[in-house]
């Protein structure tokens, strides 16, 4: 189902296709589109922050708006840009990599996307409806409970809805990897990106419920005057911090592990050499995930948990550096002795190595609970997490986009433009954030809308802002690349990179059923094995037969819409009882859709064997 000029489909038909699709490939594209738009929004918020901080005591924006800007920048980038872009890549590539025709629950997959989209729209509506949330992306009680206006209510409703979507995505990917691998694809033959998807999804499964409850508690305190965080009635605000970071720390591993998996695939492919230490890489990923659940209080060192608690969490934090270090060394060892191609995907991967390592190093510094008393709430922390998140997640997403663009869209992103993007962004990134380590060490606090003159902070902030403009330029070049490639890009073959894994065994883009016959997997890097034995394609792992496919549905979109309306109802019911109509109406509508889904038979449809035979014949020509 490509959008090439050979298919004369009107805009309406294409729009309806995407509104009702349950195909993981299209849902992947939707996630990338949605996540991409929010990434631009988050970037705009970042640029505004940096302009405000270009000189001391600036008044480009007011203090209140600055608080909204930093809150929305963080919230948007993590929940509405980072996670969806990753869910997009995982949707696009993982089923192909494991030799499946789709995910376990295609309907749920679509629902997860629309919940994200409506949650993100709801959150951003706050800009126009009285002010965005302004209590930080962490939205700590008591500030979040008491801050006036509806900003934080939008935060709660938007993230609950989007978070539900993410949780569904997580369950879906776990079930897919457990149940739907191709014949011969044992767990230890999966590509690292699929392993990373598996482990990340388990992290999502266990981390998001803590956020869900936390948001409910905050909502109850704000809307119904409960006393979870009301000290006068016996409440405790530390509970909020615990629940937030029990979610929040695994969340940052959710943001990075898929990219670790991607980089393993990228390094192997573009060094024309198998990944060094596959088993160690799998176990390192598992160890990072496991340890990642046990270090959350390193965000709370200065809260006063006491020296024993602080020490335990400090040691755990530093321990995570070990499996991470194993990964870095294994990537380097993969390249060593290989035939390395340096294209855009590889450039981003190469840029990731030193950047993420610096970020990891400052992470260990922050992990020392005693030193953290100095670093906490300064720009040192901001520098650290941008080094790991941008250096890891953002660089990785760019790499993944260049790597899988041909597979998804049938064209290769322009290389020259890709290189320009990389260098502009890479230089801009280091200009912005390297200097922030020193700003933090010099005492510049975070989340302040101005800094004072004569503190020695002027030059550093100026350089930092200049870097932001470089990154903006790089992003604009990438957008131009996307548009340019759509019209004039080089058409891609099934396997433009001489790849090693199953996604390169199908056409670019793949047919809507992925594989005419599920392939027989004979080992790790299954396509490479076939190539090394002189075959150019996979042997079939099942007889040719009718293929069962799921039906499209408009219900996921409608359910998202219902919850969106209910969300608005929740937010405004404190002001006017009429909003209860929206609240109950929206909920009833969505629940009605759920009942329709349960009650209306949906057996899918079968692709007749003849159509698959035709396709196989065409391929053989």
């Amino acid at each position: 189902m490509s959008l090439s000029a050979t298919e004369k489909r009107g805009f309406g038909a294409v729009l309806w296709d995407f509104l009702t699709t349950v195909d993981h490939k299209k849902i992947g594209i939707l996630y990338l589109l949605g996540g991409g738009i929010f990434f631009l929004l988050g970037g705009l918020e970042a640029v505004i922050i940096r302009i405000q901080l270009i000189t001391p005591e600036n008044d480009f924006i007011s203090a209140g708006l600055y608080n909204e800007m930093i809150t929305m920048h963080g919230t948007t980038m993590i929940f509405l840009a980072g996670m969806p872009l990753l869910l997009g890549l995982m949707n696009a590539a993982m089923p192909l990599q494991i030799g499946a025709r789709d995910v376990s629950f295609p309907f749920l997959n679509a629902l997860g996307f629309w919940l994200f989209m409506f949650g993100g729209i709801l959150l951003n509506l706050s800009w126009f409806l009285g002010g965005a949330p302004d209590a930080g992306w962490t939205s700590y009680a008591s500030l979040a409970v008491n801050t006036p206006g509806h900003g934080v209510d939008f935060y709660i409703a938007g993230l609950q809805i989007a978070g539900a979507g993410t949780l569904m995505g997580g369950i879906n990917f776990i079930a897919t990897i457990v149940n739907m691998r191709a014949p011969g694809m044992t767990y230890m033959r999966m590509p690292l990106f699929s392993w990373a998807t598996f482990i990340t999804s388990i992290l999502i499964l266990f981390a998001f419920p803590a956020l869900t409850i936390n948001l409910f508690l905050l909502m109850f305190d704000r809307m119904f005057d409960t006393a979870f965080f009301d000290v006068a009635l016996g409440g405790n605000t530390i509970i909020y911090q615990h629940l937030f970071w029990i979610f929040g720390h695994p969340e940052v591993y959710i943001l990075i592990l898929p990219l670790f998996g991607l980089f393993s695939d990228v390094f192997a492919t573009f060094s024309r050499k198998r990944l060094f230490g596959y088993t160690a890489m799998v176990f390192a990923t598992m160890l990072i995930a496991f340890l990642g659940f046990m270090v959350w209080a390193h965000h709370m060192f200065t809260v006063g948990l006491g020296p024993v608690a602080n020490s335990i969490f400090a040691v755990g934090t530093m321990a995570i550096a070990v499996p991470t270090g194993i990964k870095i060394f294994n990537w380097l060892a993969t390249m060593w002795g290989g035939q390395v191609t340096i294209n855009s995907a590889m450039l981003w991967a190469l840029g990731f190595i030193p950047t993420f390592t610096i970020g990891g190093m400052t992470g260990v510094m922050l992990g020392s609970s005693v030193a953290d008393y100095q670093f906490h709430d300064t720009y040192f922390v901001i520098a650290h997490f941008h080094y790991v998140i941008v250096g890891g997640t953002v660089f990785g997403i760019f790499s993944g986009l260049h790597y899988w663009w041909p597979k998804m869209f049938g064209r290769i992103l322009n290389e020259s433009l890709g290189k320009i993007t990389f260098w502009l962004f890479f230089i801009g990134f280091h200009l912005t954030f390297f200097i922030q380590h020193f700003l933090g060490l010099m005492g510049m606090p975070r989340r302040y809308w101005v800094f004072l003159e004569d503190q020695g902070l002027d030059l550093g902030n100026l350089i930092s802002t200049v870097g932001a403009f470089f990154m903006t330029a790089g992003t604009i070049v990438f957008l131009y690349n996307v548009v340019y490639t759509a019209f004039k890009g080089e058409v891609a073959s099934a396997d433009p990179w001489d790849g090693r894994t199953l996604e390169w065994a199908v056409s670019s883009p793949p047919p809507y059923y992925n594989f005419e016959q599920l392939p027989l997997v004979r080992g790790l890097d299954p396509l490479w094995i076939e190539k090394m034995e002189g075959r150019d394609k996979m042997a079939p792992g099942e007889p040719l037969d009718d293929v069962h496919m799921p039906n499209s549905s408009f219900l996921p979109f409608l359910m998202g819409l219902g919850f969106f309306i209910a969300g608005l109802g929740f937010i405004y019911q404190v002001d006017n009882s009429l909003w209860y109509i929206a609240l109950y109406g929206g909920m009833a509508f969505s629940i009605g859709c759920m009942i329709v889904r349960s009650v209306k038979d949906d057996h899918g449809y079968y692709i007749p064997k003849e159509e698959l035979e035709e396709a196989l014949k065409k391929e053989a020509e």
Binding site: I174, I202, N236, H242, L243, I246, F293
Partner: protein, 107 residues
């Protein structure tokens, strides 16, 4: 003809297996009632001091839940390896949450 008898035998075997299993389930249920009674009894009669009773209550609960998972939810049968692993993973995350909120929320 022989085919038919074999199918009947297979069906009978399945039915017998199910019946045996159902008996086990009823036994499990009876045990669960016993654990519940012990727990309620211990508290209602006030027979023990606090320091003994709380571990006993927890042990009763955990054993009862184990019966629920392994027997009622067929956790001990084949094909449940991965689901049970993930439940244990959830239990681990749960214990960490309880530990954090229970132990280091007040000072």
């Amino acid at each position: 003809m022989t085919q038919n008898t074999n199918v009947n035998k297979a069906v009978d075997f399945e039915k017998q297996k199910n019946k045996q299993e159902m008996k086990m389930q009823v036994v499990s249920f009876a045990l669960m009632i016993v654990f519940t009674l012990v727990a309620f009894g211990a508290v209602a009669t006030g027979a023990m001091q606090k320091i003994f009773i709380i571990p006993i209550l927890l042990v009763m609960a955990i054993i009862q839940v184990a019966f629920q998972f392994y027997y009622f939810m067929h956790g001990k049968e084949d094909g449940h390896g991965i689901p049970m692993t993930l439940i244990y993973g959830g239990v681990w995350a749960a214990l960490l949450t309880l530990g954090g909120l229970g132990v280091i929320s007040w000072w």
